[in-house]
Amino acid sequence: MMHISSILLFIMYFAALVAVSWCFTDMETGPGAALFSPPNGGDRFKIEGRAIVPGLKTQDWVSSARVLVEGEEYVGFLRTDGSFTVNDVPSGSYVVEIVSPTFRFEPVRVDITSKGKMRARLVNYIKTSEVIRQPYPLQIRASGPHSYFMKRETWGWTDFLMNPMVMMMVLPLLIIVLLPKVVNTNDPEMRKEMEQSMNMLSPNPELPDVSELMTKLFSGSKGSSKTSSSSSSSKGPRPAVKRR
């Protein structure tokens, strides 16, 4: 099924292609005949249009801009009002682009028949015969300034804080600080339970327990003297910390 549909699509496309080429039969043969004739013989045509940069006086940019037809095959210059004419172009199909170091203009393909009939269409390098009409004489509007530069990575507090590594560091810290406040540490049963779980977590009693130290440090200053004295008594099995 897929096959049939794709073939159908292909046939339809081919039909469209034939139809298009019928309309512009002389477009294909035209350039060959005109290109290889001597420059004086054969008809020469002109491509006309206007380039617009919204919100800017033409004097400010026309002196640095040029009109290039098919690379540098034919060159045109912009008038002081932004309009341009490229003279002496034989019939054929050309990509017309306005080059300016500051502004970006979309290129346009212009077809000239051997009789001098003109049309403009969007440039499509993949589907070369696709026709999406553009106004002729050309109206080329700048689509904004060129973006040549990358943005520097700037250092901001938010970037720093949203960094996963920092998050991983800060969150446990908050828990350590806040947990003793939430859970009532004065309850002896609870404390026993906690101590048991702590012992289970740190099987090596010789190793200094950083988290506990931190807890002591932060909760101790605000906590009652009772807590601190009782906690110091509970430190019995941890001589490593006491030694400090």
């Binding site: 540098e72 682009e97 970006r104 973006s147 040549y148 200053s221």
Partner: protein
């Protein structure tokens, strides 16, 4: 058909180019891939300039070329513009204060953009372009076009402004058969008339005296002058006369209009001046030169120069007559009376039409004598300006100062295309080296080490002589380094106290030395005019220049570095091969690339036409690489040709024998380019790791040549381009490919195991890129050494093609020290941008369907169209016009490649194809890192103190 040698082991070419029939499928898929690609491109392989790096590592110099016509903008008294139309088809306005460009318009190259005439009237500059095809009017204040009209065909003769009642409103253009008059305001044609009897009469000159009449002067050589007078209003012929002049052959070289419409001619045979009043007389008056007490230098064609300051008025009655190479006269013609005003005997050079009449002496090269004549004021000045080369042309603007004294500005163009701008007392305002607008070839040479650096280097080179002395030497060298560092710090401190404007990092030849990472190099540039330049790559300042006088105009150049700076105390040595393209005769110019001085080594005299030259990797006892020159007798000349060299070559009589031959039928195709690999290229990895962890080995044949051919048939259906990969040692054709319905110009880059080429597809009317990559396969035949003679297996060939949405003017690949960094292609575009395209996009292994393995390998899925992103322009908005070549050179840093693009302009920059992985980035935040360190340090101190207090408190409890 293509070759006589067949290649039995030809591989299947994986050629992928979207054809018309596949277009629908391709484009649908292309959209999907495009999306994928955009994600990929934007997130991982972006390499671009940051905004704060503008001008930090790069510089651009803009040129206009050799001047053909020049006028000063005298419309406004305070104007600072000088306008010039050049032989490079450029029309530009320069700032007279600084010598920089206000604006510049670059037309098509070749005869179609050729500027035939340049007239200036007020704000409007009129140019006749393309052998009289176009008439353009430019607004010189803005630099925009006023109007452009197409003129009728016919070869251009002359153009002039036509004035009437003190105003100039029209311009007349004279062609072989017609004369047309146009309005200055809009270019519309006022009238056009056929010239009478144009098949017999050669019309050469136009004249208008400001009275509403246009005079056309024609000539029938050695018979008579024809004068046709047209009415300005309607183009009617008012009068038509013919005057006998059997001695005259050319009006433009022998005659001028002087005073009130007097044609004045000079003839060397009859030794006479002839005058004719165009209004009244019908016969020429002969004034023998002897009657004025003058005589012509034998074999010299005398020249007449007159001057018409304003088109609405008559020319001055004074004119210049040159009777010999060093003999000038100022004469006056007043009501038929010829008077010699002044005789300038020892002055040689004179320029034709100017705002003022000017002589320049050349007898003493360092002194210019300048005479100015304006109206009735005649002044003479002697200016002393060191002009190194003979004066070629000179343009003068004379003006009245506020105190009514005459002052002048002079623009001098010397034979070596240097422009010098001089103010009144002989003060040089600026100079421009316009020869640099046509750089032909260049090399980048490393700078020498300084004394201390050389001493340090020398320590490692010497043989060890005892432990103690080694230690002592080490200590002393460290001391020297410390000393240098301290003096550097002192200099920094000293400079910091001075105001910023006074601190100048003057670079001169004396203090040139290599920097830490070898980023600063000497750019040796060879220009078409025969002038050589040494330019500092860091700042772009010209450190030395040398003009070679005897270079033929159609010379071909080849620049070779025979000895680098690495062989102290031997000086570095460059050799320039200059070959006359017509005769094939060549000369060698040997020089020191750092100082530009001609070497005392005498190169061999080359009496026979040279066919080919090549540099061998062999060195003689003085570490100079051997250059071989093959003449048309197939004899070989070696330079240097010492005994040592001949021993190494194992040959006493150097001759050539043919080893292999590949016949390419010339009636079908012609060879356009032959490209080998660059000798200083290094390839770091021998293969590529595939998705399944196996290795695909590259075919790295150093002898491989890429030969590009173009069909002789230019019809778009039958034209093709061919590419042959030939082993240079055996002549074996490794691979051949033909691109049908394609034509040149072809741009090729050949490097590592790949060839990239670009061509124009006549069928689809677009530019296409094609890449060929060669692989040995999964196993390497002989991994230690590559020999062309012992490679039984033909390489696997992969090829893929892409669409490129722009034309190309030059292409080159980046080059780094060790070849670890990924490669980029640098592509010069006609728009002026230099695109840095990652080679990753031109990889024939780009898959059509993404698989797990291809993703593992980081292959980009195939997309038919390559993108041009402005972020990839390494020169941001600094467009480079008409890029003719791109030169890449490695620096001391593996990540960094130095790039010079040359054409009409020169642009130098650095590129980092894999970003700067070996140095800290230039935006590295030292402040942040040090403040964080300090903060942490203090935090530990404080917390330690707090902990102590706390412990103490606890102990007391």
């Amino acid at each position: 058909m293509l070759t006589t040698i067949t290649n039995p082991q030809r591989r299947r070419i994986n050629f992928r180019l979207p054809l018309c029939a596949e277009e629908v499928k391709v484009s649908a898929m292309a959209k999907l891939i495009f999306l994928w690609l955009k994600c990929l491109v934007s997130c991982c392989i972006v390499e671009a300039v940051f905004e704060d790096q503008v001008g930090k590592f790069d510089w651009r110099q803009q040129y206009v070329g050799k001047i053909r016509f020049s006028h000063f903008d005298s419309h406004v008294q305070s104007s600072k513009k000088v306008l010039m139309a050049t032989e490079k088809n450029v029309f530009a306005a320069l700032n007279t204060r600084t010598g920089e460009l206000f604006w510049r318009h670059v037309d098509k190259t070749g005869p179609e953009g050729n500027i035939d005439a340049f007239l200036l009237h007020g704000q409007d500059a009129l140019l006749v372009v393309g052998n009289g095809r176009l008439l353009r009017s430019w607004d010189i204040s803005v630099g925009g076009l006023n109007w452009e009209v197409v003129l009728d065909s016919g070869s251009f003769q002359s153009a002039c402004l036509i004035g009437q009642q003190d105003t100039v409103k029209h311009v007349a253009v004279l062609k072989k058969t017609v004369i047309s008059v146009h309005y200055l305001s809009n270019g519309h044609q006022k009238w056009i008339e056929n010239l009478p009897e144009s098949e017999n009469i050669d019309y050469q000159a136009l004249y208008s005296g400001g009275n509403g009449e246009v005079y056309v002067l024609g000539i029938v050589p050695h018979s008579h002058i024809a004068i046709v007078v047209y009415s300005m209003e309607d183009g009617e012929i008012i009068k038509q006369t013919s005057v006998e002049a059997p001695w005259l052959s050319n009006i433009q070289t022998s005659c001028a209009v002087v005073g009130q419409g007097m044609i004045t001619c000079v003839d060397s045979l009859t030794m006479s001046l002839y005058t004719l009043d165009m209004h009244t007389q019908s016969k020429m008056t002969q004034i023998p030169l002897q009657s004025l007490g003058l005589e012509v230098t034998p074999h010299f064609h005398p020249v007449l120069v007159s001057h018409q300051p304003n088109a609405a008025h008559q020319p001055l009655s004074e004119f210049l007559l040159q009777l010999g190479p060093e003999h000038h006269l100022l004469l006056q013609l007043n009501s038929g009376q010829m008077v010699v005003l002044r005789d300038f005997k020892p002055v040689r050079h004179m320029t034709p039409v100017l705002t003022s009449c000017v002589f320049v002496s050349e007898s003493e090269k360092r002194k210019c004598v300048l005479f100015l004549l304006q109206g009735w004021i005649m002044a003479s000045y002697i200016i002393k300006v060191p002009l190194l080369n003979p004066v070629f042309q000179i343009y003068v603007q004379a003006f009245l100062k506020k105190d009514d004294s005459v002052s002048y500005r002079v623009l001098v163009q010397t034979e070596d295309h240097t422009l010098t701008f001089i103010h009144l007392p002989g003060r040089v305002m600026w100079t421009r080296e316009e020869a640099l607008s046509e750089v032909v070839t260049m090399e980048m040479v490393e700078l020498p080490l300084t004394g201390t650096q050389a001493e340090l280097e020398g320590e490692f080179g010497k043989k060890a002589d005892g432990l103690l002395s080694m230690v002592l030497k080490r200590l002393s060298s460290q001391l020297i380094l410390l000393q240098a560092w301290v003096s550097h710090l002192w200099k920094l401190f000293y400079d910091a106290r001075k105001p910023r404007s006074q601190v100048k990092n003057e670079i001169s030849i004396e203090n040139l030395s290599r920097d830490e990472f070898n980023l600063q190099k000497m750019m040796v540039m060879v220009t078409a005019s025969g002038k050589l330049f040494g330019i500092d790559s860091k700042t772009g300042s010209i450190l030395w220049k040398q003009y070679l006088n005897n270079v033929p105009s159609n010379a071909a150049f080849k620049l070779m570095v025979q000895r680098t700076t690495a062989h102290f105390p031997h000086p570095p040595q460059c050799t320039l091969l200059i070959k006359d393209k017509d005769t094939g005769l060549a000369t060698l110019h040997v020089f020191n690339p750092i100082f530009g001085k001609k070497s005392h080594i005498t190169p061999p005299a080359l009496t026979q036409p040279i066919l080919q030259s090549l540099m061998l990797p062999l060195m003689d006892q003085d570490y100079a690489k051997v250059l071989l020159l093959i003449d048309d007798q197939y004899k070989v000349t070696a330079f240097p040709s010492s005994k040592n060299v001949l021993q190494q070559l194992q040959e006493t009589d150097l001759t050539t024998t043919q080893i292999w031959e590949v016949i390419i039928p010339t009636e079908i195709q012609k060879v356009v380019t032959v490209k080998g690999k660059r000798s200083n290229e290094h390839v770091h990895s021998q293969g590529r790791v595939m998705g399944d962890r196996s290795v695909l080995y590259k075919y790295l044949n150093p002898n491989l040549l890429a030969v590009v051919t173009e069909s002789t048939d230019v019809h778009q259906e039958r034209s093709f381009i061919g590419i042959l990969l030939i082993d240079g040692v055996t002549g074996r054709i490794i691979h051949e490919a033909v691109q049908r319905k394609a034509k040149g110009p072809v741009h090729v880059v050949h490097s590592e195991n790949w060839v990239v080429y670009e061509y124009w597809s006549t069928k689809s009317r677009r530019n296409e890129f094609s890449v060929i990559e060669l692989y040995e396969g999964m196993e390497l035949y002989n991994s230690t050494v590559f020999s062309s003679l012992d490679r039984p297996h033909a390489p696997h060939v992969l090829q893929q093609s892409y669409i490129f949405p722009s034309a190309i003017s030059a292409m080159e690949a980046t080059l780094t020290e060790k070849g670890i960094t990924s490669r980029h292609l640098l592509i010069g575009l006609p728009s002026g941008g230099i695109l840095s395209l990652p080679k990753m996009f031109l990889d024939p292994r780009r898959p059509e369907i993404v698989s797990e393995q291809s993703r593992e390998e980081n292959l980009i899925p195939y997309a038919p169209e390559l993108l041009i992103r402005t972020e990839w322009f390494i020169n941001y908005n600094q467009s480079v016009s008409r890029v003719r070549g791109i030169h890449t050179a490695p620096s001391g840093l593996e990540s960094t490649c130095l790039v010079v693009a040359y054409g009409l302009d020169i642009y130098q920059t650095r590129v980092y194809p894999s970003k700067q992985f070996d140095v800290l980035k230039d935006d590295y935040d030292y402040m942040l890192i040090s403040s964080v360190l300090f903060a942490l340090f203090f935090a530990t101190m404080i917390s330690k103190r707090l902990a102590e207090v706390k412990l103490l408190n606890r102990a007391w409890r």
